[in-house]
């Protein structure tokens, strides 16, 4: 204490030390547990793909998935950004999902919003979609016997052994993609393999894609997509907590609370209307989309349905038109249009009602338009 009395300034070292301790405590614990974990034996890409196909969730799982996307999309109108509990908000920002799985007929996914939640619950033949924000519960009934289609479909798939399927898949992508594996990844505090897919074509905006596969259960636990030359993923979805044991059956119980608006069947709130317009839209989309190039630099060219170009805001593309109009205008020998320059892909909507899109830089979209 006498030292502190002589040099009162030294006292400030104590809160400073506390700052260092509390900010590094998390990473120190992570490092200690990481070194305590057994390292995984190396496995080839083909072996990993076989593992994934053979992976069976006998006990079920529960966990938390965090998804974050910075795709360079314009922010959507309405309360659909970060922290929203609406399922349609997932395209941008950061979101937390909780999942429970106890076999294909007992599944629950909850999207956590700030002071709100959307749930999708399947328990046997009942499917419920709940939204706390709208206070609505939508009920679907899955016809009995539809699950039996799964085993038959499975057996048809198994005509090809997992090994053959893995080899075929790798053979299909190797001309365009370099596939490597890394046994040192870590997802949700568990050792994981990482499958790294690196496009060989320098024309694409995608730098590399990593797929993490849990070392114990062989379930894919994380997907990250990196832009070219960036170190932070532009899109990431993965488990932050993962528990490979059967969740309690109570989490799959859902009864609509009193006071909630309950809708039934495939129709429900705006269901039939949506189906109607979608069918119309499908009919209205002039011609089939044209595919230019191959591999990672594939560009898709299509004509927009007529009603979107004349500024009709009532259709399902109504919002789209508004968003398109807010995008920067670009022009060239191909004409002019609005460009969405994303971090992983570019989309160009021309004034003539054409849309071209691809995981490429805008310049390649222009040349695709110029080509006949």
């Amino acid at each position: 204490m006498s030292l502190l009395n002589r040099r009162p300034g030294l006292r400030w070292l104590v809160p400073l030390l506390a700052v260092i301790v509390v900010t590094t405590a998390g990473s120190v614990i992570a490092a200690v547990t990481a070194s305590a974990r057994d390292s995984l034996p190396p496995r080839s890409a083909a072996q990993l793909l076989v593992d994934v196909q053979k992976a069976r969730l006998d006990d079920g799982l529960s966990g938390t998935i965090v998804q974050s996307a910075s795709l360079g999309l314009p922010s959507l109108p309405g309360p659909e950004g970060d922290q929203s509990s609406s399922f349609s908000s997932l395209v941008s920002g950061s979101h937390t999902l909780r999942v429970w799985y106890a076999g294909p007929s007992r599944v629950r996914v909850a999207l956590l919003g700030q002071l709100g939640e959307s749930d999708l619950v399947r328990n046997g033949s009942d499917v419920w979609i709940w939204s706390s924000h709208n206070n609505t519960a939508h009920h679907l009934t899955i016809p009995a016997g539809s699950d039996r289609a799964d085993p038959s479909g499975m057996s048809a798939e198994q005509a090809m052994t997992p090994q053959q399927a893995a080899d075929a898949a790798l053979k299909a992508i190797t001309p365009t993609t370099r596939v490597t594996t890394d046994p040192t990844a870590e997802v949700a505090g568990r050792s994981a393999y990482q499958l790294v897919l690196e496009p060989q074509d320098p024309g694409t905006l995608i730098g590399h894609v990593t797929i993490a596969i849990d070392g114990e259960t062989h379930i894919p636990t994380r997907v990250q997509v990196f832009g070219r030359g960036t170190t932070a993923p532009a899109f990431e979805t993965g488990f932050t907590s993962f528990n490979a044991s059967t969740p309690p059956s109570s989490v799959f119980d859902f009864n609509p609370p009193p006071g909630a608006t309950v809708t039934e069947g495939l129709g429900g709130t705006g269901g039939p209307a949506d189906g109607h317009t979608l069918a119309e839209t499908a009919g209205a989309t002039g011609g089939t989309p044209q595919v230019i190039g191959k591999g990672w630099t594939t560009i898709v060219k299509a004509d927009l349905p007529a009603n979107t170009s004349n500024g009709d805001n009532s259709g399902p593309f109504g919002n789209l038109t508004t968003i398109t109009k807010s995008l920067p205008t670009v022009s060239g020998s191909w004409g002019s249009g609005h460009l969405l320059r994303g971090t992983l892909f570019s989309v160009l909507v021309t004034d003539r009602g054409q849309v071209v899109a691809g995981a490429v830089a805008p310049e390649q979209l222009y040349s695709a338009l110029e080509a006949p």
Binding site: A18, L112, G116, E117, W130, V251, D253, A260
Partner: protein, 286 residues
């Protein structure tokens, strides 16, 4: 008031570590008329919300927070709605007023000198001051919750509580969840109190310390709403405050609450030590 303060400080016993020092500090905080007025304002909010929802024919609109729309279903939601509303400014302001006053108020009135004459270490003096702030934070939060509960149950009734996940829990469990949420927010506000205590040691103007503490909390809220600095968000004091909603899910999502408690504890520790570093070596001139 200064007479009351003098008599309260004079009641502090010499040497013997006893709860009487804390008791006198608490008496001081909870008997001040301005603090009572502040608590009355805090308690008025749930009453206002409940009466407004009851008297208006239309349900709260689509843009209302989720808790508001559930008020007519269950009176317990009045507590949650009131806590949500007051979390922005009222509750932080109340805690900032007490914390800002803790040391600077005594210095301003000239009573700090007399306090320091009492043979207790400055560390213990700060610890007693901070304990009083923490208790006040809990008193304020639970006051809002209890008043909301009473008026809500009186106007809208109780019964099973619908969680954010759309499932129902029993009334007693719902009561427990609301109590948990209040306790969590009490911890969150107590950590803001540590920031206020530190600022209070920097100045002799209690009002300046209070304003600075409110600015700290407001700036944290503003930064939390700017997506471009999202790398900073997990470190912000206020970032995890809304995680109290996770306690209203089935099953409870603990991760946000646990992170929130860690951040609160970290802020409380660092700023309490900073307050000690400043106060222990401070020359008290008046």
């Amino acid at each position: 008031m200064s007479a009351a303060e003098l008599s309260a400080t004079a009641a502090v016993p010499a040497r013997r570590p006893s709860p009487r020092f804390l008791a006198s500090e608490l008496r001081l905080v909870l008997r001040r008329r301005r603090n009572l007025a502040g608590l009355a304002v805090l308690a008025a909010v749930p009453i206002f919300i409940a009466i407004a929802v009851k008297s208006s024919a239309s349900q709260p609109g689509a843009d209302a927070p989720d808790f508001f729309r559930s008020i007519t279903e269950n009176g317990l939601f009045v507590s949650l709605a009131a806590l949500t509303v007051e979390l922005g400014i009222f509750l932080p302001l109340a805690v900032a007023a007490i914390a800002g006053d803790a040391v600077a108020g005594e210095a301003n009135l000239g009573t700090l000198r007399y306090l320091l004459v009492v043979p207790v270490s400055r560390l213990r003096l700060l610890a007693v001051k901070y304990t009083a702030i923490v208790l006040f934070a809990f008193v304020a939060t639970f006051l809002v919750a209890v008043v909301g509960m009473v008026i809500g149950l009186a106007l809208f009734g109780g019964g099973n509580l619908t969680t954010l996940s759309g499932t129902q829990i029993s009334f007693t469990e719902g009561l427990g969840r609301v109590a948990l949420a209040s306790a969590y927010l009490g911890c969150a506000l107590a950590s803001l109190g540590a920031v206020g205590l530190f600022i209070s040691t920097l100045t002799e103007q209690p009002i300046a310390a209070t304003i600075a503490t409110v600015i700290f909390s407001a700036a944290s809220l503003i930064l939390d709403s700017i997506p471009q600095v999202d790398w900073l968000h997990p470190y912000l004091l206020t970032h995890h405050w809304t995680a109290f909603g996770d306690l209203l899910r089935t099953p409870i999502a603990w991760s946000g609450v646990v992170q929130g408690l860690y951040v609160a504890a970290a802020y409380a520790l660092v700023f309490f030590l900073a307050a000690w570093a400043r106060f222990a070596g401070k020359d008290v001139t008046n």
